[in-house]
Symmetry: C2
Subunit: 337 residues, 2 copies
């Protein structure tokens, strides 16, 4: 097959935030789908905090191989398929790479749900892995109940912003932790969070003492590090910590949490990765669509145009004051809606 | 009522191991049972690592008041009772104090189970809170299954030694962590643990890498601190950490655990205090008695005679090489069997 392809190649493991040094945009050969595989033209590339871990080391998947394309979740249109379940023109999401064309394995690929008139990017900003992670984390892992107090860090991010709204729908009191006054205002004024704490400008421990005199029933952990520890130290009797991510952790490796309050409060900390719960996606998507139609949940995509701007955009995930809310996407094809 | 009473009074909060400075043996008034209370003459006093936390600060109970008797679990004989369920001469266990006579509240008091010819101290070395903690922790919290690998720290202690044996009965492979060659030999040679690691003389991380190449399915945490963190870093996929105690933690406050491996392995950490599970004691006692009768479980009491030796004995719990195995008890009455 003819045509050209470009993509970001990982040339070294990052140390800190030096993504510009370790990722290079290069011309790549057009990939050739093997048996059962699907060749996709990427329309949107999802940028996620987890990508950083994949660059650095083996996590729940192997480390991204050096001198190969950087891995990522993509939303694209099928060009050619060696899987009879998919045909040219189908819109799919899957585990691909930061490149214009990529090959997907059908076992990690899904046709898009019915978007009900929503723009295409809603498949990543409302449905899919971000919405699914928030849904499963709040309902299945935390088992949130009406009247409970839920705190979420990384609250203005793709998962955090949905976590808080889903918890509100369950009847929880919700407090979001984010890194700028703009993000905090968005959480309370637009998304209906009860409170927001700006961890860059406020004393989080003191604010939690004021806001949660009886402790935090559920903490949805997206950041780790000393901020996570401060929040966990406010856990309530029989509280639950949903360990979902560590956006702050890669800068500060090593012990970070004091388990004393966890024992004394008979609390539970549970590690949680959405790939174990993909069977819940259809139900999650259906509920999210219904809540959206009822005006009970909002989603927001922060869309950056052009593959060449991918790494500059990726930095925003790890820059507390960066003007970024919701799901960070690179629009690979300017004609995508 | 006439007669004399002596007991240990807490005169200051301990810092480190200065128990000799903060506990003083004094003549005390004979306590007077109020409505519903029971006056007991103590036969055995249970010394437990948790006592240290009670001296220092509020935990799951308030801090022990200064200038009052030190609190502890006692096994005694009823002298007088204002609760019709108990009469003079009854043998009971309950939450009392480090004194010759104490008053028990009936809601925290139990008549001793049928000891089936076992010596009286078995009510604390096999049954009661130690056996119950091990039983509930292994069966209800960890949900140990045959073929799983369980690691227990504080393995030669009253709870740890029973945890390993109960896990063996469930069909687990069991590795104990203890602080002397004598304790390690006791675990493997007497109690049937598969392996023991001397954390004072061996590289625990390296030994766990050798012994648990697929990780630890269940870690029963009795110590905390950096030793606990080392062990948790070896947790297996979907492993469970039962947080039961922190014998090593009071010396080193602050963050101690890296939650990275917990997230990546989708593991669970659950704080657990036996007082929430007292309804399980009858079943625990019945199973422990049966296992003992079948020769499948052993218990050991380290008995120190005389109330005046209480504090010297208590030091053994926090001295890794101290010659102490099993349940540490003070025999308050030399005639008790």
């Amino acid at each position: 097959m003819g045509g050209e392809n470009r993509g970001w190649v990982l040339v070294a493991r990052p140390t800190g935030d030096n993504f510009d040094e370790v990722l290079k945009l290069r011309d790549l050969p057009m990939p050739e789908p093997g048996p059962g595989q699907i060749l996709v033209r990427s329309l949107y590339l999802s940028l996620d905090p987890a990508n950083r871990g994949w660059m650095m080391m083996p996590t729940y998947i192997p480390a991204v191989p050096l001198d190969g394309p950087m891995w990522g979740f993509v939303l694209g249109r099928v060009e050619r398929s060696n899987d009879p379940a998919y045909g040219p023109g189908d819109l799919v999401s899957g585990f691909g790479s930061w490149s214009e064309y990529c090959v997907l394995n059908s076992d990690m690929t899904n046709k898009l749900p019915d978007l009900g008139g929503l723009p295409l990017h809603a498949a990543q900003s409302l449905f899919g892995l971000s919405g699914g992670t928030a849904y499963v984390g709040v309902l299945d892992i935390a088992k949130a109940k009406a009247g409970e107090t839920l705190v979420v860090s990384g609250a203005a991010g793709s998962v955090g912003s949905l976590v808080g709204q889903i918890a509100k729908i369950q009847g929880c009191r919700v407090i979001g932790i984010a890194g700028s006054p703009e993000k905090c205002a968005w959480l309370t004024d637009e998304l209906g969070f009860d409170h927001a704490i700006d961890y860059q400008r406020e004393d989080v421990g003191q604010r939690l003492t004021e806001l949660c005199p009886n402790g935090i029933d559920i903490y949805f952990e997206n950041v780790g590090g000393s901020l996570g520890n401060t929040i966990i130290s406010h856990i309530a009797l029989r509280g639950r910590v949903v360990l979902c991510g560590f956006m702050a952790k890669f800068k500060a490796q090593g012990p970070d949490v004091d388990l004393g309050p966890v024992l004394l409060n008979r609390a539970t900390i549970q590690g949680f990765i959405m790939v174990d719960h993909l069977h819940r996606l259809p139900e999650a998507n259906a509920d999210l669509a219904r809540w959206f139609a009822e005006g009970r949940i909002k989603h927001h995509a922060d869309i950056v145009d052009g593959i060449e701007n991918t790494v500059a955009a990726f930095h925003k995930l790890f820059t507390p004051g960066a003007p970024h809310m919701g799901k960070l996407l690179v629009r690979m094809d300017p004609s995508a809606n």
